[in-house]
Structure formats: C-alpha cells, structure tokens
Amino acid sequence: MSTKTKLSICAVGLAAIAACSHLPDKVDTLEQARISLRNVERDELASEMASSEIASARSALAEADEAYRDKDSLDFITHKAYVAQRYTDIAKERIAEGRAKQQIAQGESRRNQIVLQARAQQAESEAQAAERRAQEANRQVDQASQEADAARERNQSLEQELANLRPKETERGLVLTLGDVLFDTAQNALKPGAARTIQQLAMFMQDHPDRKVLVEGHTDARGSDEYNVQLSERRADSVRDALVGRGVPQDRIRTVGLGESYPVAGNDTAAGMQANRRVEIVISDESGNFPGAVERAAG
C-alpha cells in the first residue's frame, strides 16, 4: 500500500471522527421543543384534547434524543426536533380550540338561561299589568254601578217626592199641572188649598238645588187675548211669589204667561175650559236646563 493510499485512508478516518464529534453540546431547537412539550403537557385539557399529537411529539423527541446519543447526523436530530415542535404546536392549537368549544357550550346554556329568565320576567310583568288592568276595569264597573244606583235612587226619590203632584213625563221634561181649582175665576190669588201643593214643590226644590222651574200660566178662550195673557202672567207670578215666600231663590224660577194659546182641551165645554185654565210647571234637568223645552210664547 502506498503512502498515498495510507494517507487517504487516514484522512477518511479523521473526517469520520470529525463528523461524529461535530455535534454541539446541545441542539437548541431540540431543547426548545422539549420545553414547549412540557408546557403543553401541563395543561389540564392536554390528554383530553390532544393525546395523539402529544404522543407523536414525545416519540419524535425520544428519537431525536436517541440519535443524539448515537451521535447520528445533526440534520436528522434537527429534523426530529422540528417534528416534535410541530406536533407540540398542533397540540396547543387543539387544546385552545377544545377549551373554546367547552366555553361555547357553557356560554350557550348561560345565554339560554338569560333568555328564559327574561321571558319569564316579561310574562310576569305582563301578567301583573293584566291584573292591574282587570282590577281597574272592575273598579270602573263598580263605580259605574254605584253611580247607576245613586242615579236610580235620586230618580226614585224625585219621582216619589213629585208623585203627589202627579207629574207628567213630556217631551219638555217633567211637567206638573196645577189645575184651575187653585185659582178663583179671573183671580190671580192662590186659594188656600193650593198651599199644600206649593209647599211640596218648594221642598222638592230645596232638596234639588240644581233644578230650576219654568212656571207657565194658561187660560181658557174666554175674554180677549191680551187679557188672558195678562191673567196667565199674573197667575204664574203668584205661583212664583208663593215659592219665593217658602225660601226658593227667585233666580231658579222663570215665569211666562201664555194666555189661551196652548189649550189642552176644547173650549166648547165647561170641563174643557176648566182643563185649559191651569198653571204648568216644567222642571229642569240637573244642570238647570230645559232640554226638551220648546220655548213657548203667547201668540
């Protein structure tokens, strides 16, 4: 063997030794992968979410360590470290994804709870509002029926009080007719027998201070129109004066003399003429108006 050959063999041997002893004290990427994997393994969800990735990372790391001990090539060790690092990175993503998934499940049930609560609350407040409305409606019904009762009572007492005066319900309202018997012929002075009727009317007006009366005087057809109007006026006035004398304010009494213009019977018989000689008293409504009253005038 030539020295040349010996030398070249020697060189190859040295190169081999050099190559083997070229491995650094530690491979940075390998150590980094080890740390990363340790951190990920520490996560409580690691085994649940990424067991296969973590197993792959561990085995790649073990292969890298073994290659390092066997003084394998640095390229292979670096490759295995890269693989271990990648599996660890994937494991980390899987764990984060799994954790978010769990939180979403929790959040969804929480959201449903809130929605249900809100619905229940709304239903309750609607029920409360409905109850308040029902109570209000009941109250209004009660009030209305009370008012109706009161009105009925008032009407009953009105009718009772006036019953003795024999009022007539006409289109002009309640009308009392004080007959001829209260006056002497061609006289305007009330007969003593009229006192009871006037007294009842005065009491009625004291009990119902919101009502007014219209006192209309009427005559039969005997005598001139002018005379009859004046006579009817005087008779109406004397009824008014009698009421005023019993404490009824004068402003609650209107009088008018209508003469012979509004007969209630024929003037061809004594009975008819007697019916026509009269004073009619129209009673106002509670507001002091005569709603059905057609304003009458002597004509």
Binding site: H79, D89, I104, R111, S125, Q128
Partner: protein
C-alpha cells in the same frame, strides 16, 4: 507492477460501475414517491381549501415551500432529505389548519360572549322589570 497497473485501471471502472448501479437503483426508487411527500401534498391541498391563509399563513407558506424542496430533493436523488422535507411540510400544513380551526372557534366564542353581554344589558337596563306597585 502489473497488478498495480491492473488495479489502477480496474478500480475506477469498478467504482464507476458501482456508481452507475447505484444511480440506476436510485432512479428506480424515484419512480415511487416517498409516502411523506404524497401525504404532505394532500395535507397542503386540504389546508388551502380550508382557507388556512388567514390564520395559518406562515405555516401554510412554509409547507408549500418545503413540499417544493422535497420534490427537488427527490429529483436530485436525495430520498432521505425528500422524506424529511415531506414530513415537515405535512406537519406545517396540519398546524396551519389547526390554527385556522382554533381561530374560528375563538371567533365564535367572542361572538357568543358579545351576545350574552347584550342580553344581560337588555335584561337589567331594558325595562323588562315590572314597575313596582304604588
């Protein structure tokens, strides 16, 4: 001397023959792609289709580059290097997809939390509470 001469002549020829044989077998093996490359190619495709560009762009780009390098190494006859690059490309693409899926989930979680917050505000401040009885 004669042996030496013969050795000197034959040795290179033998080496060349060995090299050719080696090359031939290399070429034969090239016909079969390493499974790492095949797998990496499929994973990169999947990551691209999954739209991993947004959240795993770095990893996806690395995967594409390494897949190209692996093909080149294969053409150059370095099957080992090709397999390593293929495996790394596959893992890069897997990571890109994992990042994209995680980002999607985080997004959904953030939206849910937002809607919960809005609901809570509505429940406490939105006047759904019944007014107190007088």
């Amino acid at each position: 001397m004669s042996f030496q001469r013969t050795w000197n002549v034959c040795m290179p020829i033998a080496l060349a023959a060995l090299a050719i044989a080696g090359c031939a077998s290399d070429r034969q093996r090239t016909a079969q792609r390493p499974e790492e490359i095949t797998r990496a190619s499929a994973t990169v495709d999947a990551a691209e289709k999954a739209g991993a560009y947004e959240h795993g762009n770095l990893e996806l780009t690395s995967a594409q580059r390494k897949l190209g390098d692996a093909e080149k190494a294969l053409q150059d006859g370095d099957r080992e290097q090709a397999a390593w690059l293929g495996e790394e490309a596959d893992l890069d693409a897997q990571l890109a997809m994992a990042k994209a899926r995680n980002a999607e989930m985080q997004n959904a979680l953030a939206q849910l939390n937002e809607s919960i917050e809005a609901l809570q505000q509505q429940a406490t401040g939105g006047g759904t509470q019944a007014p107190g009885q007088p």
